[in-house]
Amino acid sequence: MDLANFSNLQLDAMREVGNIGAGNAATALSIMLARPVDMDVPKAELVSIYELAEYYGDPLTMVSAVFVRSEGEFTCSLIFIQEEDESRKLVDLLIGQQMGGMDPASVPAEMRDSALTEVGNIILSSFLNAINVLIGGTHSISVPGVAHDMLGSILDVVASIFGQSGEHALIVDTSLKVENVEEGVSGKVVMLPDPGSLEILLGKLQVL
């Protein structure tokens, strides 16, 4: 569908989808870390693909991003994105929690990256599972990919995905924050629905 004609009611519905997905993702993260995880009210916005690079702030910010692709009745891309410092803290927490107090600094970089990919994968898969339960659909999720790079370069990929079919990207995002740790640890779950599969989703939510 053409995102240029997307209505406010439909954006509200996407926000609710984000809410349901992020709730499940926050629960999964909370279980993994044995700590409470707080989430923000989700946002759903249409953003010009030419302004995407600045959407989350300075395009030169160093971030880490875990990316998965889900295909099924509802097809979308999902990114778990964090400032590099936040992802370092998350991996430290995870290693401390899951590996019996092992010193996170002693863990080699590849293993840290693997831990980050896996925690991202679990967050994003939980998000997707909740949505597919909601719409009664089935889906298959790709192997996760990970990148450490400039925020602008990550969002450049998003611009290409949406550029195929129009001038706007539909972004549904929620911030998650791990509590009970110094300074907290935060990250953002970003869902990017394929415009071609939105009609099915919106139809099932009865807002087409």
Binding site: D149, M150, S153, L155
Partner: protein, 153 residues
């Protein structure tokens, strides 16, 4: 697409799969940059005409026209390109769009050749993002890659 005259410079922050295409005429002191997102405008219909800089096949002729309108001479034009990386690899997934970077680079090069513009420098591919700045003082394209430093091409 942005076109400038010396001594101004052209900057694009955080190129991923996209291509930064620079066309320049040193004698006329004119340069232009396009931010190409996709290889090919077929299927985009009317939109391709409104935003020609988005597609490799429409960006090359549109940028040629734009720099020539600002005083460049077509026969003197040269090109430099950077970008076109694959930021994420998902083994086994049906993700043609993740490999769009290499198709962008290939199509941009093919279009430059078709329009008879020599490609004087290029830095494309890989899996890292790039920030590019083209100077109309030195006519060099500075390419910065996080963790890998800076190169002038």
């Amino acid at each position: 697409m942005v076109v400038v005259s010396a001594p101004e410079s052209l900057v694009t922050l955080g190129l991923g799969s996209c291509i930064g295409l620079v066309l320049f005429d040193q004698a006329a002191k004119v340069a232009g940059m396009a931010h190409i997102m996709l290889p090919d405008s077929r299927g985009a219909g009317q939109k391709a005409l409104e935003k020609p800089g988005k597609f490799a096949d429409t960006a090359v002729p549109a940028l040629i026209a734009e720099v020539c309108r600002k005083g460049a001479v077509r026969s003197r034009l040269k090109a430099k390109i950077a970008g076109g990386s694959q930021m994420f690899a998902l083994p086994g997934a049906q993700t043609d769009f993740l490999a769009v970077g290499s198709r962008n680079a290939k199509e941009t090069e093919a279009m430059l050749q078709r329009h008879g513009i020599p490609l004087s420098a290029s830095d494309t591919g890989g899996n890292k993002g790039r920030t590019v700045e083209f100077s109309t003082k030195t006519w060099m394209l500075t390419v910065k890659v996080l963790g890998k430093g800076t190169a002038e091409i």
